[in-house]
Symmetry: C2
Amino acid sequence: MTPDDGFSHAVDRMWAVVPAGGAGTRLWPLSRAGQPKFLHDLAGSGRTLIQATVDRLTPIVGERVMIVTGASHEGAVRMQLPDVSKVVAEPSPRDSMAAIGLAAAIMERQDPAAILGSFAADQLINDGDSFAACVREAAAVAATGLVVTLGIRPTFAATGFGYIEASEPLAGFPTATAVRQFVEKPNQETAERYLATGAFRWNAGMFVVRASVLLDLLALNHPELAAGLRRIAAAPELLPDLWPGLQKIAIDHAIAEPAADLGKVAMVPGEFDWEDIGDFAALAGLQQGAGLKVLGQDHLVVGHEASGLVVTGDRDIAVLGLQDVVVVDTGDALLVTDLAHAQQVKEIVDLLKASERSDLT
Amino acid sequence: MTPDDGFSHAVDRMWAVVPAGGAGTRLWPLSRAGQPKFLHDLAGSGRTLIQATVDRLTPIVGERVMIVTGASHEGAVRMQLPDVSKVVAEPSPRDSMAAIGLAAAIMERQDPAAILGSFAADQLINDGDSFAACVREAAAVAATGLVVTLGIRPTFAATGFGYIEASEPLAGFPTATAVRQFVEKPNQETAERYLATGAFRWNAGMFVVRASVLLDLLALNHPELAAGLRRIAAAPELLPDLWPGLQKIAIDHAIAEPAADLGKVAMVPGEFDWEDIGDFAALAGLQQGAGLKVLGQDHLVVGHEASGLVVTGDRDIAVLGLQDVVVVDTGDALLVTDLAHAQQVKEIVDLLKASERSDLT
């Protein structure tokens, strides 16, 4: 697993950071605030999403894996990943910049030349070798001082992701390019135009950067946040006191977009299959077979003139005469909808929160 | 509750027999072989169907109520109806003629002039006074030696019920008529023709007849069955031995149709509201409100852009973006279908029986 690609020097200084947050409300009631989607085996592979993420990173970085998660999930994460020793628990959610920035500040103190690669806990990637080659090249590019993002090959004109626009190839690297800009989720027409140019890739939020470069870039626009994170890394006992005062901001806005404006962002195109599993339609797409697909225990499901997705709990489920239906059975809550309404499932969660049933969310 | 209609003499000799059988497979998983529909409060009234049936009969016949049910339901029936002392348990299902015929033979021994009224345990009738008036007139007609059926006013061209064709009014009674014929469930075209004539009524299987007339009519075509039933009534200890050898036949074929051919059937038209609740579409029609109707606990259901029927169990249920959906939640099984497939629910039961899950049926 150490190909002679000339990138070993860089990748040997790299830490993989896995931010594990977000309730995944469009996957309710499977995914909850207390049981978010990264803790579930949504691919039916026998490994949860966060386990599969770490499985994919270990051949690249060995034991240099750090998970940043909410305090309420620390126990579940440690249980699922007993071999990962670095689990940082956030006292409260303060958005992605604080979570990843804290990881950067911690590793910067251990190795001033440390490289940080950030990979979300809830994405699916099938081709581990292709992914590893991409990350190794990204680490080598990051060693030169750039922020390097992984660009996902778009397979359709998606309106649910942001895009990265590539510009010139980067000299000295096999596939890396400079980045002209990051763009927000487009409308359908714009997404189709992006796809037609061939210059745009999906932004999956995966990036690689030297830890000190990340923090120095952050200090340009958000000096108090950068200083706060470095103080906590120097004196971890201050975490509970300082954390609540940190600015809440997404890393895209705090780092990626300003760095792109400064011409400091590169992209390495990923050619591996990638899935976000944002909703039950995506989840249905992952399951084998036709007709009524089952995630969980096949023997519990009887379908008759039916198609769609059933996620089983512990009871028998019969589905009769419905097409593209979605049935999700859990111990205390049941969802019945269809694939066309998959994006609206979060509206159910909003309704439950607005009523007195937020215990179910 | 004893109107001066001149029928008190007849009705004072009447026993109400409530045959309580049939699994109600089109209401699976709510209704099961082990928990048939008559044991459920399908109307959401606070009383189960069999309790409501007895509630409706008590003002007419007092304590002269006899329930004939399967041995496996005897316990549940006695629990739900502690005031009914006469519960006859059939060792095994032998169709309606044996069940009702046994009741007739038992009461014939107690009172040779006894009148038997048979009323299924799983029908809904709202207007108790109108029903009582109808039954009282039927008892008086039955006292003259006729088989009297109650004719339900058809509210649409139903293809799910048999029909009764009336002929001349019966002299000396306010509403009774002679009956020309019973006809089987018609096709749509025929049903519409029936409705247009004004002479046809739905056959709900409710009838009133002198017990000895019933048994004598039975003896004409099925002498062994009539004799067997009278033997059991004379020596109840023979029930377990004789019962399995009795002929299996529906009372419509054994009595009603032959008696009509002999000109011995009358009909009293019922003007009360009547519901059979044969499937979930009928059940949905009974519930109040529009949109997503709930049978059970309203607070467990969140509907959003949804309509249809939810039968709650003990869990929260969210329904999103589906119209005319049917969701039935029970402890061990869940059904998801729609109103258009209500009649096909029995196909699910057949599939379960054919697989190794007949425990769920």
